[in-house]
């Protein structure tokens, strides 16, 4: 058993447990949680079987900041020093001539007026390192002194911890994929941090074939490609797929020649994972052949607020002349019908145990579990909320396909709610 202090990011707390469980499930990591994960504390002691399993978790987690192999857990510094006196091997293990070290300080629950250098000095005054050389840049052993406060105003920490850093999570990905520097973005391009969390909830693994049926500028399949999957998207909007028209960037005007979905993959050097995008209507399931099977589907269907929710319909009256190319009319897509359709598509296109993870807008006032789409062949695995406005939020729903659908099984929403999303959102808008 390897006791590990897992320190989580304090943002997107509602996604924490789902992400942790999905990654553990993906790598078959067996963990024993001595404190059950929750959304109010930010660090937990988790017993792992090996370092390798911790590293697997860290290789994917966006919300785990640090994993520290726990040497000491104590109610105060005095108790910690007492423990070191009784068991000097805790420190001797790291105090070797040939192994450099650094001590980092981290506090949770209180940020103000904490002098980390003072804390480290005080620690080293009592616990001297005699042999190991200090190296702050790339130490062999990166040792962590962690303080946990009950209240931000408390003088003394509730607990102190000491241990060696095993590694950090993948928070750097949100910087690498920041939208400011991305070649091509749209009005509703997903926040990079959430897009990576979504890939984790969809349990996307290297070599998987992944579909986004509302691909837009590719914001959800870029993380999938980063994680080694092969990705395909469909987009109904001709201009979005071709990166034409006005840019979503303020003051830029028309989109540039160099902007495209493919260029985004080139930017992040994952072009090898990009299979292609089609201009197509994802409500027409027949664009996929019978052998088309995907390991995962990720989606952020348009809610009709910043992007229109549309599907194609037959033109009522078509005047086609030789030189005039006529495109199909598009009509507003009833929101609930669109989400049911997405689950129906997933039940058909996913491999067994394949996952779909998609964003679902809800109206807070009357939200209940019966608002969620329900398909007999699909099992709801997680449901994480991101607040949006006073009246609305969106939920990242992840389902696992448990079997192939039989006969005409279809998705249902027991209690209507979402379809009024747009009207509820704008109902309080003041007239100009």
């Amino acid at each position: 058993m390897l006791p590990v202090l897992v320190i989580f990011s304090q943002s997107h707390v509602d996604f924490r447990i789902a992400e942790f469980e999905a990654i553990c499930s993906m790598f078959s990591i067996k963990v024993d949680l001595s404190e059950k994960l929750n959304t109010t504390d930010h660090m937990f002691i988790v017993n792992f079987e090996s370092h390798l399993e911790v590293r697997k978790l860290l290789s994917r987690s966006i919300l785990v900041k640090y994993a520290i192999e726990l040497s000491i857990e104590a109610e105060s510094y005095d108790i910690m020093y007492e423990q070191i006196d009784n068991k000097p091997e805790i420190i001797e293990k790291f105090d070797k001539l040939e192994e450099s070290f650094a001590i980092r300080f981290f506090a949770i629950g209180r940020k103000k007026k904490l002098d980390s250098i003072e804390r480290i000095k005080a620690f080293l005054d009592v616990v001297p390192f005699n042999k190991a050389p200090i190296c702050l840049k790339s130490p062999k052993n990166e040792l962590f002194l962690v303080e946990e406060y009950e209240n931000p105003s408390d003088e003394a920490p509730k607990k102190v911890y000491f241990g060696k850093l095993i590694g950090e999570g993948r928070a750097e990905l949100k910087t690498k994929y920041n939208l400011r520097d991305r070649c091509y973005i749209g009005n509703t391009t997903m926040d990079p941090e959430l897009s990576f969390i979504q890939s984790n909830l969809a349990m996307i693994s290297p070599g998987d074939i992944v579909l986004d049926p509302f691909v837009g500028t590719g914001g959800l399949i870029l993380p999938a490609a980063e994680f080694g999957a092969f990705v395909i998207g469909t987009e109904i909007n001709y201009q979005t797929a071709r990166a034409q028209g006005r840019s979503s960037r303020q003051g830029v005007g028309q989109r540039g020649e160099s902007e495209s979905i493919k260029a985004n993959f080139e930017q992040y050097k994952s072009e090898s994972q990009f299979l292609g995008v089609l201009i197509a209507d994802s409500s027409k399931h027949g664009i996929w052949s019978c052998n088309a099977k995907f390991d995962a589907i990720v989606a952020d269907p348009p809610y009709g607020v910043r992007e229109k929710a549309r599907k194609t319909v037959k033109n009522k009256k078509v005047d086609t002349t030789e030189e005039y190319v006529q495109y199909q009319q598009k009509e507003e897509y009833d929101l609930e019908a669109a989400f049911c359709d997405l689950l129906n598509l997933s039940a058909r296109l996913l491999v067994i145990n394949g996952r779909i993870s998609f964003w679902y807008p809800v109206i807070l006032e009357n939200y209940c579990a019966e608002n969620l789409p329900n398909h007999p062949a699909m099992d709801l695995i997680s449901n994480c909320e991101q607040p949006l406005t006073r009246k609305t939020s969106r939920r990242l729903l992840s389902y696992r396909k448990i079997r192939d659908p039989v006969n005409d099984e279809a998705c249902e929403i027991q209690k209507t709610g979402v379809s009024h999303y747009r009207s509820v959102l704008f109902s309080s808008a003041k007239p100009n």
Binding site: L278, I279, A280
Partner: protein, 125 residues
């Protein structure tokens, strides 16, 4: 569009089309990439493809003579060298300009700048 995608596409969504597979493919321009070969990933992909459609795709880029006429019995019994040929077809060939054509209605879906457009209205005659 990498040739792999062609294998997953059909025109069954069109009116009066029953099979709509495989789509005929006309390749006017393509680029050949050099994407790293991975044995396991290639086998996963080959397990999902329809061989008859792959033959159509190979013919469209004049490479039908590179793959066997009959589907190999078991993909994982192939040597790396044999698998590389399939990997090259599916992953390295990126169609830039061309057409996908419904085998039943002959409806044409243009591929421009590497993006097939499956939305044309005369699709719904």
């Amino acid at each position: 569009m990498k040739l792999f995608v062609h294998n997953f596409m059909s025109s069954r969504f069109l009116k009066n089309v029953t099979v709509g597979y495989p789509l005929n493919l006309v390749v006017k321009q393509f680029v050949e990439k050099d994407i790293e070969f991975d044995r396991d990933n290639t086998i996963v992909m080959l397990d999902r493809i329809q061989y008859e459609a792959l033959i159509v795709a190979a013919a469209a880029v004049n490479q039908s003579d590179r793959i066997p006429r009959e589907k190999p019995e078991k993909w994982d019994e192939l040597t790396d060298e044999q698998l590389r040929v399939f990997h090259h077809l599916l992953m390295n060939i990126d169609v830039i300009d061309g057409e996908l054509i419904c085998p039943e209605t002959k409806t044409v879906f243009p591929i421009r700048d590497g993006i097939p457009n499956m939305l044309k209205v005369d699709a719904e005659k």
